[in-house]
């Protein structure tokens, strides 16, 4: 089996506190993997280490067979890793369309002088980016928002655009940090559908942290549970839900006594 994303024995400590301890996860191509765990379990640290924003003290991470540990976040992004954040990260100074075009930064090459002199190659490239950005907005049904400023959208809308922006450059794996946080129940249902469509129509592998247990249970093929920086369970949603260790982590030791 060839994992598209492989985290091997990764440990991270901040000032002597272990945020992650010997965590290993293999993600298969096309999988949707949910990561859950109580607050402070190390979930966001795990995503940060994968995308290069934090460095592990120990261990290695492989993306599609290439070692990515120690590389800059922008380099890791260039190797096919997308990411969304807990708090919305649409750029407010740009329109929604420009936000999407920024997502194609790595798919475009016009340099400073080509841009300043607006060479024909540069104009062709801009037209191509624009068409691709519009198509990506169509995918989430947001084409009509193209010319709105990024921060004129509601929180939930920004979240969807942010996910679309993370997908636009066709990454191999996308890390989603609590995509459902702050969304209404109807929005969560739409998100559920969108995540399935991403996998089905684009074949992109998803790894997501999520606290909305109903969503993560419904949409994930596999769930990894972290507690105090350690992986305590890894399996299909049903087996994880019934795992005594998981119940203990969430509810305390007496719950299953």
């Amino acid at each position: 089996m060839s994992a598209i994303l492989s985290v091997q024995d990764v440990s991270v400590s901040f000032g002597g506190v272990d945020a992650l301890a010997d965590v290993s996860i293999d993600v298969e191509p096309g999988e949707i993997v949910g990561i859950i765990g109580p607050n402070g379990a190390g979930k966001t640290t795990l995503l940060n280490v994968i995308c290069g924003m934090a460095q592990p003290n120990k261990g290695a991470i492989w993306l599609n067979g290439t070692l990515i540990t120690g590389r800059k976040p922008s380099a890791v992004a260039g190797m096919g890793l997308g990411r969304t954040f807990q708090s919305s990260q649409l750029f407010p100074g740009m329109t929604v369309l420009e936000n999407m075009m920024t997502g194609l930064h790595l798919a475009s090459h016009a340099g400073l002088f080509q841009s300043a002199f607006r060479t024909s190659a540069m104009r062709r490239e801009e037209a191509r980016l624009r068409a691709k950005a519009e198509a990506a907005l169509d995918f989430v049904g947001f084409r009509h928002f193209a010319d709105r400023p990024g921060n004129a959208l509601s929180f939930g809308q920004q979240r969807i655009v942010e996910i679309a922006r993370a997908l636009i450059n066709e990454p191999k794996v996308v890390l989603l940090d609590e995509p459902a946080v702050g969304l209404s129940i109807n929005r969560v249902a739409e998100l559920d559908e969108l995540l399935r469509r991403i996998r089905k129509e684009k074949g992109i592998t998803l790894v997501m942290i999520e606290h909305v247990i109903r969503l993560v249970m419904a949409v994930s093929d596999r769930i990894v549970v972290l507690n105090s920086g350690r992986k305590i369970a890894d399996g299909n949603p049903v087996s994880v839900r019934d795992d005594p260790l998981v119940i203990e982590a969430y509810l305390g030791a007496q719950a299953h006594a």
């Binding site: 922008s74 841009s115 989430v140």
Partner: protein, 337 residues
């Protein structure tokens, strides 16, 4: 009418007007118009750095000075002709500017401001005290610039050069900011972490922003030495920095058009209150404060709303623009089948 008053047309009209100034006006007004051109270059260059790329740097006046000293000293010590000293001064400032990008990788906000301010003060100290090279606090006069075989006096020749430089650099900045380079700058300003996750290399784009603004300030400085016929340290102090910032903030952060407007207003205001030189610092400090408090997005934002201006990458929605309320069109579409 609205179409006629588009930013592009206004810039064009302004430059046509500036082009005829030497034919119509006396020496004094030519000098003032020349200052307008130089402050346009300074404000646009600084705006690339703080308005677009979001780097709160305070070294623009020092870069201005490095350009002036670089070009002037090359002329004075080595007899380098002005046509070569001018781009050399600009390049020296560009290199110094790029060095400032190194602390910017680790520092941001107030800390970056402090480091760049320290650099500026250090530069000023070198200019005033390294007597054998810089001629010390008294300054120096670079050799006369000969525009032959063109039939131009030094003031008119310098005016022509400044006009060409301002037009070229504004056009350059306008196009560059309307491209993926501008988007990378704004992404860095609006969210460094998200920008990185989209593959934007912070080192590369911060260095580019500092280099560009250094080049702009250096060009203005090298021209300034020629316009004034004199280079001295007192012109590149903190007050000068406040003036550059005032032009950028009054005009509008993150807007090329704003910096052009800001530069015009700044130079005109400077002339109006020149008689009260002692109050200048207070006046400009107060003006800056008033804008930050009451019109933080500058004059260009008023024009944008009144005239429907639509400059790229200048959409930062203010508190007046509220998010559309739910229900909104579905976030997802049903699959086609």
């Amino acid at each position: 009418m609205r179409r006629l008053l588009s930013p592009r047309n206004l810039i064009f009209a302004l430059f046509v007007t500036l082009a005829v100034v030497p034919f119509l006006a006396n020496k004094y007004y030519v000098f003032i118009a020349n200052l307008v051109l130089l402050y346009m270059i300074l404000a646009v260059g600084l705006n690339l750095l703080i308005g677009y790329a979001g780097q709160l740097a305070f070294a623009n006046a020092a870069m201005f000075g490095i350009g002036a000293y670089g070009a002037g000293l090359l002329q004075a010590h080595f007899g380098v002709p002005y046509w070569l000293a001018l781009p050399s001064g600009a390049l020296i400032a560009m290199v110094s500017g790029t060095v400032m990008a190194l602390p910017a990788l680790r520092l941001s906000g107030i800390y970056l401001a402090l480091v760049t301010l320290a650099f500026a003060q250090f530069t000023l100290w070198v200019m005033s005290h390294w007597d054998t090279v810089t001629f010390g606090a008294g300054g120096f006069s670079p050799p006369r610039i000969d525009f032959g075989p063109l039939p131009l006096t030094q003031p008119n020749g310098m005016y022509l050069l400044s006009w060409l430089a301002a037009a070229g650099l504004i056009w350059f900045a306008w196009n560059a900011m309307g491209s993926r380079i501008g988007r990378a700058f704004v992404a860095m300003r609006d969210g460094e972490i998200a920008a990185q996750a989209l593959g934007i290399d912070l080192l590369r784009y911060k260095a580019l922003a500092f280099a560009l603004s250094g080049f702009y300030a250096g060009t203005a400085g090298a021209l300034y030495g020629g316009v004034l016929g004199f280079v001295g340290p007192e012109g590149f102090d903190l007050l000068q920095m406040v003036l550059h910032k005032a032009a950028v903030v009054m005009g509008g952060l993150g807007s090329i058009m704003g910096s052009i407007i800001g530069a015009v207003i700044l130079v005109v205001l400077l002339e109006v209150i020149r008689e009260f030189k002692a109050t200048m610092e207070i006046a400009f400090g107060g003006l800056l404060l008033a804008f930050v408090l009451f019109q933080p997005r500058g004059i260009v934002d008023l024009l944008r709303r009144k005239l429907g201006w639509d400059e790229r990458l200048h959409y930062k929605a203010g508190p007046d623009q509220t998010a559309p309320s739910e229900p909104t069109p579905a976030a997802t579409r049903k699959p086609a089948e």
